[in-house]
């Protein structure tokens, strides 16, 4: 028996766009269409055979081999096909072409808490959820106490889940899922739940699972977690594997594509996840040093200014900036919708948003800015990785940055009082 866990050849998954017309359509339309077909006026196009412009290949021609015991991270932009791949592998949806061979019992964690029934008690839900996730009844019984202990819900075991706080139900859901023992585990963005302490606990559990020699395919936008958990990475782009190799290299390549994209004229960027009303477009984004020195040298602790240039002036414009570190971990979000007296609406500023930072609180390193522009309650335009910048060592409150052995990515202005 070979030790291949997942092997795919030319795997593809196609979706028909305009689903709300064909899919959500009314019976009347379907009957009318059937009648047209019967009259022979329209060739019968079976969804499987039909090939036209309104088709989206979420996954195309994907061939890969994952050996048993490998921990693989799937990375890529939104819409690159990561979640579709997991859906196909977990058999929720069928591929449109090609095939994949799965050897071993597969368990998927695509969304924590799927299958919880609010009227059932915690105890009943553990059994229901466990079997939904593919556990045998006997297995659930054997691990029942462990699950309850992990979820920290002993006292509420016989309370209907609808009376649980959201934190409690998330904990319970993760606990059930984490105690699954499939040979192959598919995980999609499940660690982003619960409070910080529980997230740490969950991450620990995932690390444990990953080190137990089980095959894990992991999707997350959090590159730091992926890098910590996985040894191999597959970079998906427009449904195809662009890179496949050691996780560090794949992540670097992914970041490279992000930066290459940022070198382009922003108006020409056609990222999959660029969505909005587009009454105004993001033309350019930049962070400059505002201390009076060379504006292109960004120094920790110096005043700085982020500028978002737009194509049109739109009334009641709002802007949200997220600064993320080199692994894509968000460091901070600045949101104009949460307003303060220091903010101003200036008729002179033109189609442009400026955000002033009095003292840049970032440690030296590489960062990127994601921008979201809103107006009239709609997202107008949004770009991930709209700009990249490098922070140089500096001084904050007279203290050199970075302090020796600094961890994290933020420096906080502070002062000490110590015994003399």
């Amino acid at each position: 028996m070979s030790d291949v866990a997942i092997e795919s050849h030319g795997l593809g998954k196609r979706y028909q766009l305009g689903l709300h017309r064909r899919g959500y359509g009314t019976l009347r339309e379907a009957i009318a269409e059937a009648a047209r077909r019967a009259a022979g006026r329209q060739p019968h196009h079976d969804d499987d055979a039909y090939d036209g412009p309104d088709l989206l290949w979420a996954l195309r021609d994907l061939s890969m081999t994952i050996r048993s015991g490998e921990v693989v991270g799937l990375i890529g932009h939104n819409g690159a096909g990561k979640s579709t791949l997991l859906k196909v592998l977990s058999r929720i949806t069928e591929p449109s072409e090609g095939h994949a061979d799965i050897t071993g019992r597969i368990g998927s964690l695509l969304e924590v808490g799927t299958g919880f029934h609010p009227e059932l008690t915690g105890r009943e839900n553990i059994f229901l959820n466990g079997s939904i996730l593919g556990m045998r009844r006997a297995e659930i019984r054997a691990r029942f106490d462990e699950i309850v202990e992990f979820a920290e819900i002993e006292r509420f075991l016989d309370t209907p889940v609808k009376r649980y706080s959201s934190g409690m139900s998330v904990r319970l859901a993760f606990a059930v899922a984490a105690h699954l023992e499939p040979e192959i585990l598919l995980v999609d963005e499940v660690l982003a739940v619960g409070d910080a302490a529980f997230q740490r606990k969950s991450l620990g559990k995932m690390t444990e699972v990953a080190s137990e020699g089980r095959t894990v395919v992991f999707v997350s936008h959090n590159l730091a977690i992926i890098q910590a958990l996985c040894e191999r990475g597959i970079l998906l782009e427009q449904g195809q594997a662009q890179a496949d190799g050691p996780i560090k290299e794949t992540i670097d390549q992914y970041l490279g594509t992000l930066e290459r994209a940022s070198g382009q004229d922003l108006l020409e960027r056609t990222d999959r996840d660029r969505r909005g009303y587009f009454e105004t477009w993001i033309r350019a984004v930049g962070l400059r040093d505002a201390s009076g020195g060379p504006p292109d040298v960004i120094i920790s602790g110096h005043p700085a200014k982020i500028t978002v240039e737009l194509t049109e002036e739109v009334p009641s414009l709002e802007c949200q900036l997220t600064i993320a570190d080199s692994l894509g971990q968000a460091v901070t979000t600045l949101d104009s919708e949460i307003s303060a007296p220091v903010d101003a609406r200036d008729p002179e500023v033109g189609p442009c948003v400026e955000c002033e930072i009095s003292s840049l609180p970032l440690l030296p390193g590489r960062y990127r800015i994601d921008v979201l522009v809103k107006a009239k309650r709609h997202i107008q335009d949004g770009l991930q990785g709209a700009a990249f910048f490098e922070v140089q060592p500096g001084v904050m409150n007279g203290r050199p940055v970075p302090p020796a052995g600094a961890e994290g990515s933020v420096i906080v202005p502070h002062a000490w009082r110590l015994p003399a």
Binding site: G23, D47, R91, I92, E94, S131
Partner: protein
């Protein structure tokens, strides 16, 4: 779309030491619902879903399981009053209340399985789009939960039959067959409708109306002997005709065995079941893309 074309090379059971290889690929034709191996593999889940449907049914209701009985009893009272007393519909010499209740017990089972079953996939759309399992468990679970209700109301029916001074005959032993016919008809219809409901929510609005119509097309408030031959026999193409007339004969032990109706209804229920499951099977692989 869940494909399962188990390959020959890893024939061992999942619980065995050698894991089985499953090939995921586009499928054509009917291969999922009618795959006993696959259904068996997920048997624990099937049991859990049925258990959930049973437990949840009357949670947070003041009267609980009594609802299983109140519905047919309520109809019995209304029907006895309007059809039995006021309209004077014949009941073949039986007390009208008993006559209608014996028909309402299987009818309520059928109607509820149809009503809840046809909505089962949409109501569980979160599950359908996130987790793989044989989708047929959804309408089937509703049906199993309905069996519990049926048992409760059957006990009440028999109690009333005894109070009226009837003694059950050997005909009583034909009940499992009659229940099986009703269940086959209900599963065939509700699985097909639940599948259509995934794409066309019109089903939701059609079902309550259709059930009302179906009630009057079934000899619940009137005896099928009101119809002239050959119409009486032909009407048994509606599988509930044989079930309802059969129930009267089996529980009240009166009249002649309507074997002609039961036979036709059984055949018709089988056709419904196979056709319904076949249609369900054909569209099952795309549920997750539409729901």
């Amino acid at each position: 779309m869940e494909t399962l074309a188990p390959e020959g090379r890893g024939a061992a059971d999942v619980t065995g030491t050698r894991p089985e290889t499953i090939r995921l690929q586009p499928t054509r034709g009917f291969s999922r619902v009618l795959a006993p191996k696959e259904l068996w593999r997920y048997r624990d889940l099937a049991a859990q879903i049925a258990l959930r449907d049973i437990t949840v049914r009357y949670r947070q209701t003041a009267l609980g399981g009594a609802w299983a009985v109140l519905q047919p009893i309520g109809f019995m009272v209304v029907f006895s009053l309007f059809f039995g007393r006021l309209a004077g519909v014949t009941s073949n010499g039986l007390p009208y209340a008993l006559f209608s209740l014996a028909a309402l017990v299987p009818w309520t089972f059928f109607a509820n399985a149809l009503l809840l079953g046809s909505d089962s996939l949409v109501a569980n759309s979160a599950l359908v789009s996130k987790i793989y399992f044989p989708r047929i468990f959804m309408p089937a679970g509703i049906l199993v939960a309905g069996c519990v209700d049926l048992m409760i109301s059957l006990v009440i029916l028999m109690a009333i039959v005894l109070i009226y001074g009837f003694t059950p005959t050997l005909a009583f032993l034909s009940l499992p067959l009659l229940i099986a016919i009703a269940a086959a008809a209900a599963l065939g219809t509700s699985s097909a409708l639940s599948a259509i409901n995934v794409r066309f929510r019109d089903v939701r609005y059609v079902i309550p109306f259709a059930i009302q119509m179906w009630l009057f097309a079934t000899p619940v408030v009137y005896p099928s002997s009101l119809l002239d031959e050959p119409w009486r026999t032909l009407s048994a193409i509606n599988p509930m005709v044989g079930v309802v007339e059969g129930f009267r004969w089996a529980t009240l032990g009166s009249g002649e065995a309507p074997w002609d109706l039961i036979a036709i209804s059984a055949a018709s229920a089988c056709v419904l079941l196979v056709a319904g499951l076949a249609y369900f099977d054909r569209v099952e692989r795309r549920f997750a893309d539409f729901v």
